[in-house]
Amino acid sequence: MKKFQCVVCGWVYDEAAGDPEHGIAPGTAWADVPESWSCPDCGVAKADFEMVEV
């Protein structure tokens, strides 16, 4: 499972953890996170920022 970091605020999406508070189940691959999702810490849209594998 991979981790990705928001380049705007540094929040880390951990595929193993998902983002259940916003409807993304643990284990959801980054590619499968919907385009409508935005970073929970800073609000940047998925489409608009790079998530860098960390």
Binding site: V7, C9, G10, S38, G43
Partner: protein, 381 residues
């Protein structure tokens, strides 16, 4: 209304307005004017760059040319605005006049500075841009101790980042606790202890009055002439919204450039976003409000007048030594903090008389409650 959308400032606010508008309108002419080199970077990431192993150059997410291509915009870098002339719909710059159809002011905020005496006062750095940050890292190279003036959010984030890199840190503030504007007392004490355990040396209740050079180091002197030594000094004592150009042009300014809920300033076809703007009386220098503003303004500029919405927007303080999430109550709100302190964290709610919470502050393990609390907060706009 004819003529390009001209955006002054290429920070997060200006670039996000451009990005969001381009999504809605593929053809409107966009010109972005910036005094810096036009590279896109994230200011929030400056204060954890050391922990992330990033040099200043690596913090640039996209260079000017790539950014201009992505946005289908002209980016006029190295261009300093000298005046706004609303009657002519012209912006005067050091490289000539630029005409606008709509003007977006995304000018950011300027660092406040303490009045400091001494021959070292000019050596104190502010870090409010990628260029500033580059200068800071150059001064830092090979040195062992940094003094930070200001124990607010930025000062504490820089302090933690320096500690992660093994560099000695002293944080000075006249206030008795760090994050004084954001944390009530028990949370503040817990937070202070967490950072202190990571090696941040707090010098609270201490006002620095003069800086003197001592060889290739610096001495900080308080009002009683007690001296502290450091190699590099960073000032992080607060920000002042950049209103100089707006005020000179006759636009209404409070603490920031006054705009309504559509981000419209007091003269036609001029808007303001980000740290320079005072939206319906509120100044919120954080990322989430900028995203909300930029999306609303883009819709307005694309033809659908839209008011900005501000749901509760908690702010994450990026200090791994002590996690903290704050949702400050609106300025002037009447209420009291109720704190629940445990061994591993503090949960504090700002309650108004009916027992409802208008804000919160969470430190340590208590941050796990952030989502649930945010969901229960009233929207600000």
């Amino acid at each position: 209304m004819n003529g390009p959308v001209v955006i002054l400032g290429s920070g997060l606010a200006g670039i996000t307005v451009a990005r969001e508008l381009r999504k809605l309108d593929p053809t409107v002419a966009l010109r972005i004017v910036t005094a810096d080199d036009g590279a896109f970077y994230s200011k929030p990431m400056l204060s954890n760059a050391l922990a992330g192993g990033k040099t200043a150059d690596q913090l640039a997410i996209a260079g000017r040319e790539a950014l201009a291509g992505q946005l289908q915009a002209e980016i006029l870098a190295g261009t300093r605005v000298t005046a706004i002339r609303p009657a002519e719909r012209v912006v005067a710059t050091n490289r000539g006049d630029i005409a606008y159809g709509r003007l977006v002011l995304a000018l950011g905020a300027r660092p406040l500075r303490l009045p400091l005496a001494g021959d070292g006062a000019g050596d104190v750095l502010s870090v409010n841009s990628l260029d500033d940050y580059r200068r800071f890292r150059e001064r830092l190279a090979g040195r062992g101790n940094v003094a930070i003036l200001g124990a607010g959010l930025i000062g504490c984030e820089f302090a933690n980042d320096l500690r992660t890199a093994g560099i000695g840190v002293q944080v000075f503030d006249i206030a008795p606790q760090p994050l004084g504007r954001l944390l009530p007392p028990q949370a503040g004490a817990f937070y202070r202890d967490g950072l202190a355990a990571a090696g941040v040396e707090f010098r609270l209740g201490t006002g620095i009055a003069r800086i003197e050079r001592a060889g290739d180091s610096l001495l900080l002197l308080d009002g009683g002439n007690r001296a502290y030594a450091a190699d590099v000094i960073v000032s992080a004592v607060g920000l002042q919204p950049e209103t100089t150009l707006a005020a000179a042009a006759g636009l209404a300014c409070g603490r920031g450039i006054v705009v309504d809920r559509r981000l419209a300033a007091s003269m036609a076809d001029i808007y303001a976003v980000g740290d320079c703007a005072e939206v319906a009386g509120l100044g919120l220098p954080f990322v989430m409000p900028i995203m909300q503003q930029a999306r609303a303004l883009a819709r307005t500029l694309a033809g659908t007048p839209t008011e900005v919405a501000y749901p509760a927007m908690p702010v994450v303080v990026k200090t791994p030594a002590c996690p903290a999430v704050v949702c400050p109550p609106p300025a002037g709100a009447e209420g009291r903090w109720r704190e629940e302190a445990a061994a591993d964290g503090v949960r504090a709610l700002f309650e108004i008389s009916a027992g409802r919470a208008l804000g919160f502050a969470l430190v340590g393990k208590a941050i796990a409650g952030k989502q649930e609390l945010a969901a229960g907060m009233p929207a600000w706009l």
